[in-house]
């Protein structure tokens, strides 16, 4: 472990690993923040990531490039968002149940479709993903330059997106309406804005954002689609939303924290073969738990979350 402090290149590699492990979480958590701020539970982040990953692979496979992959991936994520919106907002189904059902549905349907689209080459193909394109000047910064700006474009897009979601939520009229609709939809309705419209926009946006996490997995990290490749990241993002107190920057930092400890535990396992590996494997989860309980205090979710709006009250 000492080498991280004494050897700058080991530290750079370590931070790069942290960031690569965090990026899908960050996109999904931002989607979660947007959705839950508007008063809709989004348990389907996991499915949205996976749908995004599948769409990215199909898009890149058919169009031959990462841009097509990103577009199809985002559309797939939005499609899942649309189902959640129709069932959870318009038809007033229990949003948590819908979310769980969507996760199961996406897991199976992507596996099934992947076998049709990619066939036997699914695990050996290499799609054209994003090239590593260092940002001039910024990537030369000591230590943090390479992890943040020396990797691929989606990492930079992620940083910009964190700022954009923050700006959207806290500095625009639309954002004010979104936050209001999550707290007191009746007030928003009284003001003449569409509760349903705002929530639809946020759920669709949430699908697009979470899907970008899946796009990152396929287009920047693995270059192929593999079944269940989201592997629970959506649920960690869900915890990050709470840990970050429904704030985009808070959620971003929570994801980085998780990525940091995940990268750390991979190293620690390896350098301490005598310690049972389970101790290290649980480290990121333990830290998340401790942070949730100890540091953040009582989380206060948006007041109207999970309650479909009825004009006549309920």
């Amino acid at each position: 472990m000492i080498d991280l402090l004494t050897n700058p290149s080991a530290l750079v590699e370590f931070l790069s690993t942290c960031l690569r492990l965090s990026v899908p979480l960050v996109f999904a958590a931002l989607g979660g923040v947007l959705c839950e701020r508007s008063g809709v539970f989004n348990i389907a982040l996991e499915g949205m990531i996976l749908a995004g990953a599948f769409g990215a692979a199909v898009g890149a496979f058919l169009s031959g490039g990462p841009a097509g992959g990103l577009a199809v991936g985002i559309l797939c994520g939005m499609a899942i968002g649309a189902v959640l919106a129709v069932l959870g907002i318009s038809l007033r189904a229990n949003q948590i149940v819908v979310g769980i059902a969507l996760n199961l549905f996406v897991l199976s349907i992507t596996a099934y479709l992947a076998r049709i689209v990619f066939g036997g080459q699914a695990n050996t193909m290499r799609l054209n993903g994003f090239e590593h394109t260092p940002v001039p000047l910024l990537s030369d910064l000591p230590i943090i330059g390479k992890p943040l700006f020396g990797q691929d474009p989606l990492v930079v897009v992620m940083l910009v997106t964190v700022g954009a979601v923050w700006f959207l939520l806290f500095r625009t009229r639309f954002g004010l309406a979104v936050r209001a609709v999550g707290e007191a939809p009746g007030a928003v309705d009284t003001a003449g804005l569409s509760v349903t419209g705002l929530r639809y926009a946020c759920v669709l946006g949430s699908g697009a954002l979470a899907a970008m996490g899946g796009c990152y997995l396929v287009l920047s990290q693995i270059y192929l689609f593999s079944e269940d490749m989201s592997a629970g990241k959506g649920f960690i993002a869900l915890a990050a939303v709470i840990l970050g107190r429904w704030h985009p920057v808070g959620a971003f930092l929570a994801c980085l924290l998780f990525g940091l400890f995940d990268a750390l535990q991979l190293r620690l396992q390896f350098t301490n073969p005598d310690v049972p590996h389970e101790f290290f494997t649980m480290l990121p989860y333990l830290v998340t738990l401790v942070a949730l309980v100890g540091l953040v205090g009582r989380p206060t979710p948006p007041r109207a979350i999970g309650r479909p709006y009825r004009r006549e009250g309920d």
Partner: protein, 320 residues
């Protein structure tokens, strides 16, 4: 009309349940086998190998076949009981993690013949598997000759018995060549998380490892990609990496669980399978050398083949 409708209904039910509809003609009805698999049949690894074995048994031996894939730990007992209740002659459970469930099902259905692939010996259940340590030994032996840093790493999901045996054999094989060699392990806690498997491999490579070996399901791809990108060696123990990644593949062995399964079906048809523990040594039709990289010197290959021959004939003793 009725037949077409019921065929359609059956096909839909099959799709929904993820279960293949048996298609073999009537003469096969007297012997029926079923497989219960924990993962996906296209994982290019263990599950696929078992599935292909079921298909081979159906085609070559004319038995009727059914399977269930992606069966979660909590559903194991139910999935196995279902086939036992329906009177399948042989029910395969794919993987050591089924051992406890199979034991329970065997107590409830004493006349059922359950076979756990890679299982630990259990009362009332047949277990078939490989002498995992021998496979590990051969790969470790080759890694010991080819590693420049003397550090090799194995990556798996969870700590299961078969993996421990592999690590044990691998370490003995590698240290037999290079007394200072180090064999390290990382657990990703997820057999399918490709991204994490890749990062785990990167992390190992950054710390001086120049031979990595994945023991995963879908996660294998991530480890192999990491090896390709950083220019280190990768080894495969179940699937031959030489066909998919010929440059990074140092040496692979293949564990053809399918062939092992077909052998078990033949034995069972002859009434000779029994309910004991069956272990296949290195170098049979069901498991042995895969592709060896041409960069391995000929004398090393020859030495490895001598060891393999000793294993096959039963004269090999593992150095302590």
């Amino acid at each position: 009309m009725t037949t077409r409708r019921s065929a359609l209904a059956a096909a839909v039910a099959g799709l929904l349940l993820g279960t293949a509809m048996p298609t073999t003609p009537a003469h096969a009805d007297d012997f029926r086998i079923a497989g219960v698999l924990p993962g996906s049949i296209t994982d290019q690894a263990f599950n696929q190998s078992v599935y292909e074995g079921l298909v081979r048994a159906r085609d070559a031996l004319g038995v009727e076949m059914a399977f269930s894939e992606k069966v979660a730990q909590a559903d194991q007992v139910e999935a196995l009981s279902d086939y036992a209740r329906r009177g399948y002659d042989l029910v395969f459970a794919a993987g050591g993690e089924f051992t406890a469930s199979a034991g329970r099902v065997a107590r409830r259905f004493p006349e059922a013949h359950l076979v756990v692939i890679n299982g630990a010996p259990t009362d009332g259940v047949a277990t078939i598997g490989y002498d995992n340590a021998q496979f590990g030994y051969i790969l470790g032996f080759i890694a010991g000759h080819m590693s420049e840093t003397g550090k090799a790493a194995l990556i798996t999901g969870q700590e299961i018995g078969a993996f421990k045996e592999i690590v044990d054999g691998y370490t003995r094989g590698m240290t037999a060549v290079n007394g200072d060699a180090e064999v390290l392990t990382t657990f990703t806690n997820d057999w399918d998380d490709v991204a994490k498997a890749k990062e785990a491999a990167f992390s190992q490579i950054d710390q001086g490892v120049d031979v990595v070996m994945p023991y995963l399901d879908n996660g294998i791809v991530g480890v192999v990609q990491a090896a390709e990108e950083r220019g280190v060696w990768a080894q495969g123990i179940i699937t031959d990496l030489g066909t998919s990644s010929p440059d990074a593949n140092l040496a692979s062995t293949t564990l053809d669980f399918g062939a092992g399964l077909v052998e078990a079906v033949k034995l069972a048809q002859a009434g000779a399978l029994g309910k004991g523990d069956h272990r296949l040594p290195f170098g049979t039709d069901a498991g042995g050398f895969g592709t060896l990289n041409p960069a391995i010197p000929e004398d090393v290959v020859a030495a490895a083949k001598d060891i393999a021959e000793a294993m096959r004939s039963g004269t090999f003793t593992m150095p302590q």
